[in-house]
């Protein structure tokens, strides 16, 4: 499913949760949304889901508005960090409700997943642990083979083994059905593995959208040791994000192609030149110019 947002804004009372957000997600892509708490990730996903009405702008899923056209929601799956279930229902009653709601429900799939997770059909939801409830959520979201999956911090609260299991399941789903996925998460390591694109949300604004491999190819930390300090102009290149100096060691965060960077620094005849691997967070921080994650 193709997801498209144009200038979407959402206000709660006087507070703006989303501000002029625009992006497109082509069908079959995996789109990650990162951002600090309160950035608006949940609001964004709920708006795409059709639960919330944007204050202005438009949201379209496959060209249709998910909020007004209920038929679109048949193909959208949602897994939230905050889990809401009918606590008094048993697992099988919950499954039954979803089965009757979604025409594309696959019974064998749901049973298979439940058995895989070890969920008992007759257990009441209020007796399930948090992890088990997440698993139930996964069963519910995947069993009707939605064409669009919206995942709101799905791996929060899962141990590393379950987290890897979940991602593997997710990727298997994408590979098999070509599902479009929007996932919000703090775990950048997860996003690195699975996303085609990543967008940064900060205080309701979408700061940037990029492909991970592009990011990795374009931002580097270079450590240069120079015998004599060069001219001031040397450090005044616009592709240099930041320069820090400890005696003769200069640490530069720079944007550009690796080879050209290497050549540039080599020209200064350094005593030592090293490219340090940057975790994705630092890449983001560098690109955003320090917004969002940095403490001021």
């Amino acid at each position: 499913m193709h997801v498209s947002l144009k200038e979407v804004a959402k206000y709660f009372g006087g507070h703006s949760a989303l501000d002029s957000v625009s992006f497109d997600v082509p069908p079959g892509a995996v789109f990650g949304v990162v951002g600090p708490n309160g950035a608006g990730k949940t609001t964004l996903l709920k708006t795409i889901m059709g639960m919330l009405r944007p204050s202005s702008g438009s949201v379209t899923v496959d060209g249709r508005n998910p909020q007004t056209e209920t038929a679109v929601r048949v193909g959208i799956g949602y897994l939230a960090e905050a889990q809401y279930y009918y606590l008094d229902f048993t697992v099988s009653e919950t499954l039954c409700f979803y089965r009757e709601t979604y025409p594309t429900w696959q019974d064998e799939r749901s049973r298979e997943l439940c058995t895989g997770f070890g969920l008992s059909m007759r257990a009441k939801v209020k007796h399930l642990s948090r992890g088990q409830r997440t698993q139930l959520g996964v069963v519910l979201a995947l069993s009707y083979v939605p064409k669009l999956l919206l995942l709101d911090e799905p791996t929060a609260g899962l141990d590393p083994v379950m987290r890897r299991q979940f991602l593997a399941l997710l990727m298997d789903e994408v590979a098999q059905h070509g599902t479009t996925v929007l996932i919000s998460s703090h775990q950048l390591s997860d996003l690195e593995r699975i996303c085609d694109y990543v967008g940064v949300l900060h205080q309701g604004k979408l700061l940037d959208v990029a492909r991970i491999e592009d990011l990795k190819r374009q931002v580097f930390t270079v450590q240069v040791v120079l015998a004599e300090p060069p001219t001031d102009d040397f450090w005044r290149q616009e592709w240099m994000q930041s320069v820090r100096q400890h005696g003769r060691i200069y640490t530069v965060v720079a944007q550009g192609e690796r080879d050209s960077l290497a050549s540039y620094f080599a020209a200064a005849k350094p005593l030592a030149l090293e490219f340090i691997e940057m975790p994705l967070e630092d890449i983001f921080i560098a690109r955003m110019g320090g917004e969002g994650y940095a403490f001021k």
Binding site: A175, E192, R193, F275, P279
Partner: protein
């Protein structure tokens, strides 16, 4: 079989390409062997199938693997290295960069050469094959 390091500066699909090639060279994958499907690999490694698809496409373009309709993807019978002037220039540039780095890390020219030979030997590409 494959090990992806997401923190590395190298994009995942490139790592995958390298690892496939390395596996073939080391004998882990032989000519005619069936490659895991995109779906299987995505599930095993928990990485984006588009990435895997990209890697497979590139490997196919390079003539390392071939996909036979309805039967799967297989390692090519004979890997014919194509001589590509542009690619050669790129490799040369990469080598140059590595040499610069090595130098500034304090490695002497001899050490660099020894390391190259070690790798060649390890990959069974050495002069004494």
């Amino acid at each position: 079989m494959f090990n992806i390091d997401q923190r590395s500066a190298t994009p995942i699909y490139q790592q995958l390409i390298q690892q496939v090639k390395e596996a073939i060279l080391r004998g882990g994958l032989c000519a005619g062997d069936k490659m895991p499907s995109v779906r299987e690999l995505a599930g095993q490694l928990a990485i984006n199938p588009n990435t895997i698809q990209k890697a497979y496409q590139e490997l196919e373009r390079q003539g390392v693997i071939e996909s036979l309709r309805g039967r799967g993807t297989f390692v090519c019978q004979s890997v014919v290295p194509t001589v590509d002037a542009q690619k050669q220039a790129k490799v040369s540039e990469s080598l140059r960069r590595v040499v610069i780095e090595a130098h500034y890390l304090g490695l002497s020219a001899e050490k660099i050469m020894t390391m190259v030979e070690e790798h060649l030997h390890d990959l069974k590409l050495g002069v004494n094959r």
